[in-house]
């Protein structure tokens, strides 16, 4: 009897698309019960959105003031309590899920499988190691609860389905006060979110400076795309770390990925290899990015990118 508990991710107002992807992964386990845990405050609207996902059999809503901010130390004991009777607990492999899931696993006294990219059986999973240099197939102990995070780039989200019942739960669990939320600073402009965008334009060290990197933003705007960056560009201080794509940043799977001035180290490529179309613009014809690019252009980016922006604008105006 497979019973899966999916940990919902949300921003306090809306359910994050990551949750629909986790539900998709959970369906591969062929569960008898597929329950989404919504810990939020206020939580009604989010619970309703979770209940509308295809395949969900029930939503457990814990609407309590301490759940207003996503603090792992506060959420984990509640999730651990909710996990009783479940064979699997799934969370997205986002910074939210990566933060909370191992804490839940340890409280349950079990290990965790990080970044599941395929389910081969109720207790058999595939995941990447060494920056995607290998796919390892792992068997989990069937006698224990399996806690896992889901590699979001490997799953499409489920669509809407018949509304599942929402059950409100009040938990008798002591919550710590040793961890306190202070603030969230979001520099998101009008551009799409990097994790979920269908088009992404990313820049590397070759942009040369934060000012040079503005060219990436201009191309992104011409394409209606999100902006990403290589670790080298982040390390050089051109852009914020939350734009980093790759092994230690975000793993994404857009329809179109345009890599500009990015050499294509394996640590970067592992973050984009599920993109449908990869375009590379680089002046070094030997750059490894060309080995994975569907369309490659060897050119000076400072000439090619403005030209491309003009061409796209002309096309759009046609």
């Amino acid at each position: 009897m497979t019973r899966v508990l999916v940990v919902a991710e949300h921003d306090g107002r809306r359910l994050d698309p990551a949750t629909a992807k986790c539900v998709r992964c959970a369906l591969d386990l062929a569960p008898e019960a597929l329950v989404v845990a919504v810990l939020a405050h206020p939580g009604d609207a989010i619970a309703v959105q979770a209940a509308a996902l295809a395949g969900v059999t029930e939503v457990l809503l814990v609407d309590a003031a301490p759940n207003a901010a996503p603090l792992a130390a506060v959420l984990a004991p509640q999730l651990t309590s909710l996990a009783a009777g479940f064979t699997h607990v799934l969370a997205p492999s986002s910074t939210f899920g990566k933060d909370v899931a191992p804490r839940v696993a340890a409280l349950l006294g079990v290990g965790q499988i990080s970044d599941v990219l395929a389910v081969l059986g109720a207790h058999r999973f595939q995941r990447h190691i060494y920056a995607g240099n290998a796919v390892v197939t792992v068997d989990a102990d069937p006698a224990r609860c399996t806690v896992a995070t889901v590699r979001l780039a490997s799953y499409a989200g489920v669509g809407p389905g018949p509304a599942a019942p929402v059950v409100r739960r009040t938990l008798d669990v002591a919550l710590p006060t040793h961890t306190r939320f202070v603030a969230l600073r979001s520099d998101k402009g009008a551009r799409p979110d990097l994790q979920t965008a269908s088009r992404v334009v990313a820049g590397g060290r070759a942009l040369g400076s934060a000012q040079g990197f503005e060219l990436i933003g201009a191309l992104a705007d011409a394409l209606g795309a999100a902006v990403g960056a290589s670790r080298a560009a982040v390390d050089s201080g051109f852009v914020a770390n939350d734009l980093q794509v790759g092994q230690t940043g975000k793993i994404i799977a857009p329809e179109l990925y345009v890599a500009v001035g990015i050499s294509g180290a394996i640590q970067h490529v592992t973050g984009i290899k599920d993109a449908r179309t990869i375009v590379a613009i680089n002046k070094d014809s030997e750059a490894p990015i060309f080995e994975v690019a569907d369309v490659g252009l060897v050119a000076d980016l400072f000439k090619a990118v403005p030209e491309l922006i003009d061409a796209l604008r002309a096309r759009g105006g046609r």
């Binding site: 989990a140 998101k188 179109l256 179309t277 491309l308």
Partner: protein, 250 residues
């Protein structure tokens, strides 16, 4: 609140490409250059700066593995850690076992803070810090890009998907480090020589009351699916045409 425990892992160097063994039963890591996991090196640097700022008295380095890890521990001592502890165990122990060992050491050393990388670049699990915090019943501040400490409270800026999140945690706490926290210092030759005299203790898992239990079995290892080679275009016009053909500009 005197001691910072810094957990480091020995990994194949960031610049070396690791391949699957021909028999698919593991990774071919023999003889490859190793180093301290880059995120753990950032954790060590953060600890050294906190000690230098007077927030803590000593920095204790810990790793889990066999004698092969001594090189990385000596490097950490040369960077400035005061002493090192090696928990003698197979290097393949699972993160929960590592967390249990670190928990035992955090209690024994009365650590005021445990610092470690947000993930190791070999297994890419990213679990140990959070598991340790859970077992220790202490706060966790993961993916830290800024840490300041005053009056027994750490204020940590975290790199999260939505941007930068600031949280406050009461000490003792566990902090896992992201790449923008700092730039680790270079080790100078005199420091390397001096580090040879610094204490390096070895303790077994059993002495810490921890069993090397395994919950997961790796069945096989395979190279990732390769993307097929694409086309090279000669101009921006050809690039736009290629994208139109692929239907991605619709």
């Amino acid at each position: 609140m005197q001691t910072i425990l810094v957990a480091i892992k020995r990994v194949v160097d960031f610049n070396v490409r690791v391949r699957v063994k021909p028999d698919g039963m593991g990774m071919a890591t023999e003889g490859l250059k190793t180093s301290i996991n880059p995120f753990d090196e950032i954790a060590l640097e953060a600890a050294l700066r906190l000690r230098e700022a007077g927030a803590f008295n000593s920095v204790v380095l810990v790793t889990i593995g066999g004698g092969e890890t001594d090189r990385e521990l000596r490097t950490g001592l040369a960077m400035g850690a005061d002493r090192a502890i090696r928990v003698d165990a197979a290097p393949t122990v699972e993160p929960l076992v590592v967390a249990r060992a670190l928990h035992a050491l955090a209690v024994r050393e009365q650590a005021g803070l445990v610092l470690l990388g947000k993930q190791a670049i070999d297994d890419d699990n990213g679990q140990t810090g959070q598991m340790l915090a859970a077992l220790w019943s202490r706060p966790q501040a993961t993916f830290a890009s800024q840490v300041s400490i005053a009056a027994g409270v750490a204020t940590v800026v975290r790199e999260v998907d939505a941007g930068l999140e600031t949280i406050e945690v009461d000490l003792p706490a566990v902090i896992t480090t992201d790449l923008r926290l700092n730039q680790p210092r270079y080790v100078k030759l005199p420091a390397i020589l001096k580090a040879k005299a610094k204490p390096l203790a070895v303790v077994s898992l059993a002495e810490l009351g921890v069993r090397d239990e395994r919950q997961f079995t790796a069945r096989d290892f395979a190279p990732p699916a390769q993307r097929s080679a694409g086309v090279r275009v000669k101009s921006v016009a050809e690039l736009v045409a290629a994208l139109e053909t692929r239907g991605v500009l619709a």
